[in-house]
Symmetry: C2
Subunit: 220 residues, 2 copies
């Protein structure tokens, strides 16, 4: 089921809810209030309730949300309840780090193929996967791979995107810098790690933080 | 100057505006309309104007925004107009990838120290920086380092955060999974790369995308 007219902002927060819920499940917690969930997320309880209202609620007044049920529903909405097979292109340091992320599996992703253009790397194993030459990328659709991950240098990003799409990929996660063009139906998620740093200094205290060390707060 | 009562959502978008503006500057574009900027960002023009209204506008009706001025103002607001020196802990694949990010500099960050606990790595150079033993982390404040980057395994994240804060760090970018607690004044930005993947399947077409290949759209 595709839920219509859900704001992108809400869709953007759903993975964060899921992350918080997985943490609570790790801790063995069975239910959670919108207040506690908002606190974990750094938002407000009203927004939590509003976000979930697009999908019919989930909560019982006074009882909060059932952690496991809610996590399952979010997985369903985000289509993470099936395994999403992915192919990685570019097995440099970042590519190797991505192949080793234990949490990709938690979100339903499985990298099943890795490509590079460096002859020295071909045949080598990284994260349990044999690295193939980029020329072997053609049959991803037949392998059930619909997600492409681009971790190549900036100047190779467009060609890599073209190759992935030609091979049957329907969505792309791009780590490379720069602008690429893709067919309108193809979703590209750009992960610009440096950009995520950029909002940190705004929140940094001007004076040393150790003075406040006695008041501690959690961070997911 | 600290701008008060700016919603976190707006602060969260400022780096994205900056990224779009840097792209426009690369292309030699001098001015940009709120419509064009919204298009690059994947938002709507009203929100662009609203976001900038918290800082007094910047735009001239009918002329749009001056790209370079706007980028400069956003840098000032986010305090990226000074160099923010950072220390990285954990020089694995991800750590090495972070050290090599060319775009960190674009946002005003400079990694000046890297630490690991693996004796084999100490003294080795990564991204032009000599890797030091984690026990050398004590004097970051004296070195003018206020940003800490955690790229260690999950189970070492809390200890690393404690060490960084003890050494004088005021803000943390955390790549490790899991929950850490820090003093209330310390901002922690968690970059959970796997989580960013999680909103992709929702947007992926069910049928092959190649049929729509003739309509192309840009993606930053």
């Amino acid at each position: 089921m595709r839920y219509r007219r859900v704001p992108d902002e809400t869709i953007r927060r759903l993975p964060k809810y899921l992350r918080a819920l997985l943490l609570l499940m790790d801790r063995g917690q069975k239910t959670v209030s919108s207040v506690a969930l908002a606190d974990l997320m750094g938002g407000n309880p009203g927004r939590v309730r509003k976000d979930f209202s697009y999908f019919g609620g989930f909560g019982k007044r006074g009882f909060g949300y059932d952690v496991e049920t809610l996590a399952g529903e979010i997985r369903k909405i985000l289509r993470l309840n099936v395994v999403n097979k992915a192919a990685l292109v570019g097995v440099g340091n970042l590519g190797r780090a991505i192949l080793a992320f234990p949490s990709l599996k938690k979100y339903g992703f499985e990298i099943v193929a890795a490509f590079d253009n460096d002859p020295k790397k071909i045949g080598e194993k990284a994260g349990g996967i044999v690295i193939e030459h980029i020329s072997q990328i053609c049959d991803l659709e037949q392998r059930g791979v619909y997600v492409g991950i681009i971790a190549v240098p900036r100047q190779a990003a467009q060609q890599t995107a073209d190759d992935l799409l030609e091979a049957g990929v329907r969505g792309i996660v791009k780590f490379s810098q720069g602008y690429i063009t893709v067919p309108k139906r193809v979703k590209v998620i750009t992960i610009d790690i440096a950009m995520d740093f950029a909002r940190l200094p705004y929140y940094m205290p001007r004076s040393p933080s150790r003075a406040a060390a006695f008041r501690r707060t959690g961070s997911l």
